[in-house]
Amino acid sequence: MPSGGPAVLVDGLVKRFGEVEAVRGIELAVEPGEVFGFLGPNGAGKSTTINMLCTLLRPTAGSARVAGHDVVRERDDVRRNIGLVFQDPTLDGYLTGEQNLRFHAELYGVPRSVTRDRIRQVLEMVGLWERRRDRVEQYSGGMKRRLEIARGLLHSPRVLFLDEPTVGLDPQTRSSIWEYIRELKRAEEITIFMTTHYMDEAEYCGRIAIMDRGEIVALDTPEALKAGVGRDRVRIETADDRAAIAALGERLGLEAVMSEGAVAFAVAAGEEFVPRLFAELGVPIRSVSVSRPSLDDVFMSFTGKTIRDAEGSAKDWMRLAARGRG
């Protein structure tokens, strides 16, 4: 099995559903051991891309290699070397947690001699060993997702694909899933390729790609992307917000808006800007806060909208894509 070389290598990948071009020729290379985040609103083409990488969808054009194998010509080799956790659950609720894993082990041809130890190990890693004899239908949403992660790891894949692993979970469960993912990074030699549309989660990734309307519009570390935005966020509370907005526009040439009860605007080197603000605004200021750009701002700067705005239009996009597929 070829080692060295990228864990995921994508070259000019295109997927068309009828008239709709869901993925429009993307390029991508993920190094072994990376935690790679794939960001974008629903319908941006993330799931379509992941499905092609997982051999579930045939690319219309271009090529992709996962764990050194071509996703079209060496489908079984790819499948042996990847673990999958889908957006929607794929567990059998009638079976116990352990039976679900045993099913997976047999289906993937995991050698019998190690099956039991390995099942125990992955169950312990996600904290479900004690509950292994319970039927999965009795598990909570978070437990199910953890079991799916354990199952995805069972056959020691070289690349683990997580498609929205925390969607629909409460914040506490989300953060515990992330703990397992980080734990996993320590315990196994594995590349993690994940999609998410939670910007805060993307911070945990080594590198992220932002996808919008079928194209990768940005690809770098979260820090570099945020630095690339170049403008900090400033929020001020004033005695007269309207006058403040007008003054910002006239005297400082900045476009400000009301946001959650404060005047908000973006400016380069925000902290150094604060003294000038006090000197020149001419409206009494009650409080100031300066924050570094978030990935939300990054997303905004690349796509011209917030990820939540994008969500709405993404639904139409998805509907189009689904119709094309029908």
Binding site: T55, R80, T90, D92, H104, Y108, G109, R116
Partner: protein, 315 residues
């Protein structure tokens, strides 16, 4: 299942091994981490896949024991209520029927019906699996589609045969002797018929994604098939149009061997036998039992092959 549980019970007291590599070198995976090397695909691997798909269906069937009991309702109604009621009618109408209980006649048909219904439900589990996402887990595995389809077909046949065995317990009610050889023969024949029907269902399920549509189509095909199969009336002396239809119906060839087997164990006069167990005639030539069974087997294999192709195309 039982053996597996016993084996697992043994390791409860085992020392808990750490899942952490404890800072071990990344290259070796570290101590404590069980690395798995998944071997390339082989026939042995595919056979393991067939077995586990089958095992899962059995676990699910066992969990759903109520289904087995509910599966008895219809056959009991047919046998005890319809069988008894129509026996009266026959006794009043003509004398010749008096020697064979209608319940005995109808028994093989009732066996066939309930086995078919169970097989149909088993095949429907694929649609169910798709709805709950589990089908995806199977389809992304590095095993051949044939292994998954074969596992489904065999498990459907096996589960239906278990249901059939429950029906066979009613043999006494129908005046069929509890002869072990007869019962085993019947079970084998039921397995074959159920296999063919499950294969048909699995082939449908490859394309049909909604539960309602699947059972709608199944019901629509099952009813005419049962009515035209000789399960409920003898196939001798029928008008030509009906006679042709019954000979075209695959289920006919699954039901007739069952009845032949039952009548072989009964002591009835030749004229009664001719009326109630006329066999399947192809323009005067009587189709032997082995040919009927061969036809059912061939059909089952052909349908299974078609199902594999369907899943390959869909995947």
């Amino acid at each position: 299942m039982g053996a597996g549980d016993a084996r697992e019970a043994g390791d409860v007291g085992e020392v808990v091994r750490s899942a952490e590599p404890a800072g071990g070198p990344a290259g070796s995976g570290g101590p404590g981490v069980v690395r798995v090397a998944v071997p390339p695909r082989s026939v042995r691997h595919d056979l393991r896949a067939v077995r586990i798909v089958l095992h899962r269906e059995l676990i699910r069937f066992w969990r759903d024991r109520l289904r087995m009991v509910l599966g008895l309702v219809q056959p009991v109604l047919w046998l005890v209520v319809m069988g008894t009621g129509l026996s009266n009618l026959m006794a009043a109408g003509s004398g010749s029927g008096g020697r064979v209980d209608l319940k005995t006649f109808i028994f093989p048909g009732v066996c066939a019906m309930s086995v078919m219904t169970t097989a149909m439900f088993s095949a429907g589990s694929i649609v169910w699996d798709r709805e709950f996402g589990f089908l995806r887990e199977m389809l992304v595995a590095p095993v051949s589609r044939a292994a998954i389809v074969a596992g489904k077909c065999f498990s459907g046949a096996l589960v239906a045969t278990v249901q059939g065995a429950v029906i066979l317990a009613l043999a006494g009610v129908a005046g069929v002797p509890y002869d072990p050889v007869l019962l085993l023969t019947l079970l084998g024949m039921m397995f074959l018929g159920a296999f063919a029907l499950t294969a048909f269902g699995v082939m449908l399920a490859a394309r049909i994604t909604s539960m309602q549509a699947f059972f709608g189509i199944m019901q629509m095909t099952m009813m005419p098939m049962i009515f035209l199969s000789g399960a409920l009336y003898p196939l001798g002396g029928l008008p030509a149009w009906l006679s042709v239809l019954t000979r075209l119906n695959p289920l006919t060839y699954a039901v007739d061997p069952l009845r032949q087997a039952v009548f072989a164990r009964l002591d009835v006069p030749a004229d009664v036998e001719r009326t109630f167990n006329p066999g399947i005639g192809w323009g005067g030539w009587e189709v032997p039992v082995w040919l009927s069974l061969l036809l059912v087997l061939a059909l089952g294999l052909a349908l299974m092959g078609a199902a594999v192709l369907q899943f390959r195309r869909a995947g």
